[in-house]
């Protein structure tokens, strides 16, 4: 899975992302980083800190506040032969760029029969759990998994964040790379009333300094188990893992890491073994990615299922501010869902 692994050190997810960008900019002169506040300032989350100083303004630059422009310009740069890594400051603000992403980046290879490609990686912080209210908390991955021609990737640990981001930048297809900002600085188990943790001591926070890849399209089995399969990604991986340990249930947890293309073999193998499947995501429920997962499991594992597929998701409301912890699919809701599916 990894190649040329070098010395490892403990990194937060932000540091790991910064390191991935640094490694790729060093290796490939075609890689350019662009977005609002990413240049001199180093990004509102510090993901691009130090890059402009090291690689110059022709490769790392601040942009005007126009998401249409950021993505449209990145497509043009890709057509020229560069490998752009544009940042959208929050996933909640990716919508102005939807036309450029859906109609252009995703379709360019197809409509030109490969004459032109769009090898860009769109980085964007996403997800809730930070009192971000309606426009700093959304999880719009389902919008992109519905678009043919883009890949959607979501890491859950610093190690994966770096390896997946490197793989995404090297990939010749457009990749939407959603970074769960709740776990930028430490894993989050959903217990918002407890002190927040750093990545220190987490096995997923030991990150090689140099180049390595975590291949796209392959899930990670976080924990093997026999009683139940839980499919999740991003922040929810940590919430799920914590509850499974707390409840002592023998669940197999699969962190999907890439939603499109999905690691269908890992999903199928696990559900056929356990006979039960629970899907957890922060995004709203109706037509969310969980619906696709549920349909795939039903189609492929129907005769192995001992209970209906369970979905624990955000509610079908805009993301609320004061009622964040009622909305967030946290420990209370996950516990109930596990109890329910195990009773069936």
């Amino acid at each position: 899975m990894t190649e040329a692994a070098t010395e490892t050190r403990q990194m937060s997810m932000i540091q790991a992302i910064n390191s991935a960008l640094d490694v790729m900019m060093e290796r490939d002169p075609e890689v350019v980083v662009m977005g609002e506040d990413v240049g001199f300032f180093g990004g509102v989350f510090r993901a691009t800190a130090g890059l402009q100083k090291k690689y110059g303004k022709n490769r790392v630059f601040d942009t005007p506040i126009t998401e249409i422009g950021i993505i449209g310009v990145a497509i043009g740069m890709g057509a020229y032969g560069l490998r752009p890594v544009p940042e959208i400051q929050f996933a909640d603000y990716i919508y102005p760029a939807l036309d450029q992403l859906v109609s252009e980046a995703a379709r360019l290879r197809y409509r030109s029969a490969g004459e032109f490609i769009s090898p860009m990686t769109v980085r964007s912080p996403f997800g809730g759990g930070i009192f971000g209210g309606q426009t700093h908390s959304q999880s719009p991955e389902g919008i992109f998994t519905h678009v043919s021609g883009v890949k959607t990737v979501i890491p859950s640990t610093p190690y994966d964040a770096k390896g997946l981001l490197i793989a995404a930048i090297e990939d010749n297809d457009p990749v939407i790379f959603f970074e769960p900002k709740r776990i930028y600085n430490g894993p989050f188990d959903g217990h918002y009333d407890r002190p927040s943790k750093s990545w220190a001591g987490h096995p997923g926070a030991m990150v090689p300094e140099g180049y390595y890849r975590v291949p796209l399209g392959r899930a990670r089995t976080v924990r093997a188990g026999e009683a139940l399969t839980i499919l999740c990604y991003g922040t929810m991986e940590h919430v799920v893992e914590s509850m499974v340990i707390e409840m002592g249930v023998d669940a197999e947890i699969i962190d999907l890491r890439t939603l499109v293309p999905l690691d269908i073999e890992a999903v199928e193998r696990s559900v056929k073994k356990t006979g039960r499947c629970m899907i957890v995501h922060e995004a709203t429920r109706t037509s969310g990615y969980g619906a696709e997962l549920s349909a795939l499991v039903q189609e492929r594992c129907f005769y192995h299922l001992e209970a209906p597929v369970e979905r624990v998701t955000g509610f079908d409301t805009p993301y609320p501010h004061s009622l964040e912890w009622a909305y967030f699919p946290g420990p209370v809701r996950i516990r109930e869902a596990i109890n329910k599916i195990m009773r069936e």
Binding site: I75, S112, A113, F116, G217
Partner: protein
């Protein structure tokens, strides 16, 4: 809970009554709200074109400056000193077909005839393909009649490897660059010779070798892309520049604003062409803001050099494009060029302009026909005559006919000679993922089961 919400609703209802809309305010409340004053009612202005079907068109009051009167600023001019250029009209060819004034590009005879020929070829190609659509050989076509100079003279002024990001009405760029007609026709027929494998609507060409970017149906999206390509060229220390085109209707898209902002901020080596042909399908240019200002004047607010030119004057298009290209190559930044022209025919084969505009508008259009004007110029120079023009037109019609016959050997739409079904799943991604492979197999199995 029920009790509380019930009484709450009742209370809220009672409170709402006196505030229930402006109509229910009493006189003193209206006074407080400023409605008691004797003000005229506000009026919404909805633009209306001057002539509708049945009207006699008359453009005699349209301000058309004489050829040769517009000054020619230095290519390095500060955009702030060029404001008048955005409201004037650069014209080189006068009514007698003479090239006059400081914008005369003084082109050699060979170049003039080459442009004339490419324009005539584009018109012949359009005529043939329009007819092919009417004959049911394909689903759709869009002509560029009356706008040939906008594409062809621009292409002549650019280097062949300058990257073009066209809209759907710049087929002239491909033709000016000598792209094979058969290849274009294969695309229009979506046949087995179509390099785009029948995936794209007719006329949505892509020709990387001709530095002609893949055309999209989504309007103005190519604008920021062209700026990005130009920025990349600059960032890499290249010498190539980019050019893009959109119609005046598409300037209303957000992409236009984003592109102009980026082009200005990074001084991108790009030429932003706005082809103002007066009509966006059935909407006249007033719906893109033309009643209040010119499209070239948009440049002023962005700090970009702006030129407004006679789009039916091939020499003006050439000269302006050359000016903008030289400026871009000298790191002087972007130029926005408004090409003032007229869409002589329907928007597309799906459109009937007689339903929304005066039938004789085109014949009264004061800037005339771009081919006729360049022909007149060549004749005035003594390098051309009507006989040669007629012979060329005949030869080009035959060339197009022969190309069409060749292309039709590869198939026409709906006659089975298309790319294999399974090719539909290719190129979505660089490598076909499992779900597409499964769907591809499913499609083949279904076809087999149906005996196809």
């Amino acid at each position: 809970m029920g009790d509380r919400s019930g009484s709450g609703a009742g209370k809220a209802g009672e409170e709402r009554v006196p505030q229930a809309g402006r109509g229910h305010l009493d006189a003193s409340e209206r006074e407080l709200a400023g409605q008691g004053r004797n003000l005229p009612p506000l009026q919404l202005h909805v633009p209306e074109p001057r002539y509708r079907p049945g009207d006699a068109a008359d453009f005699s009051d349209l301000e058309i400056p004489a050829a040769g009167t517009a000054p020619r600023p230095d290519e390095a001019a500060d955009p702030g000193t060029m404001r008048d250029m955005a409201y004037g009209l650069v014209r080189v060819l006068d009514d007698e077909g003479q090239a006059v004034g400081p914008w005369d590009p003084k082109l050699p005879a060979k170049t003039l005839i080459r442009m004339l020929r490419a324009m005539a070829l584009t018109r012949a190609f359009d005529a043939r393909m329009f007819r092919a659509q009417r004959q049911g050989k394909t689903s759709f076509y869009m002509k560029s009649t009356g706008e040939e100079a906008v594409s062809i003279a621009a292409a002549a002024a650019l280097a062949s490897d300058d990257m073009c990001f066209p809209s759907y009405r710049q087929q002239g760029v491909l033709i000016a660059r000598g792209w094979p007609l058969i290849d274009m026709m294969n695309q229009i027929y979506s046949n087995k010779g179509d390099r785009l494998k029948g995936r794209q609507l007719p006329i949505m060409y892509s020709a990387r070798e001709a530095s002609f970017f893949s055309i999209s149906g989504n309007l103005a999206t190519q604008y920021p892309q062209a700026v990005g390509w130009a920025m990349a060229s600059a960032a890499r220390g290249d010498t190539r520049i980019a050019a893009t085109w959109c119609g005046e209707g598409s300037t209303a898209e957000g992409d236009f604003h984003s592109a102009c902002t980026f082009a200005s901020v990074y001084r991108a080596p790009v030429i932003l062409n706005v082809v103002n042909n007066q009509w966006a399908i059935s909407s006249f240019s007033g719906f893109a803001g033309a009643e209040a200002t010119t499209f070239a004047a948009r440049a002023i607010g962005y700090g970009i050099a702006g030129l407004r030119i006679d789009g039916n004057d091939a020499l003006a298009v050439y000269a302006a494009t050359r000016w903008a290209a030289d400026r871009a190559r000298a790191n002087g930044g972007p130029t926005l060029i408004e090409h003032f022209t007229y869409r002589a025919e329907g928007h597309s084969t799906s459109d009937d302009p007689s339903a929304y505009r005066s039938a004789d508008e085109g014949s009264h259009w004061p800037l005339g026909d771009p081919i006729a004007r360049l022909k007149q110029h060549c004749i005035a120079l003594g390098i051309w005559d009507e006989e040669r023009q007629a012979a060329m037109d005949k030869e080009l019609a035959e060339q197009v006919r022969d190309a069409a016959r060749e292309a039709e050997k590869n198939g026409i739409l709906g006659h089975g000679l298309h790319h294999p079904m399974e090719s539909m799943f290719e190129d979505v991604f660089e490598e076909m993922p499992w779900h597409l492979r499964e769907q591809q197999q499913q499609m083949l199995d279904e076809a087999k089961a149906a005996g196809l």
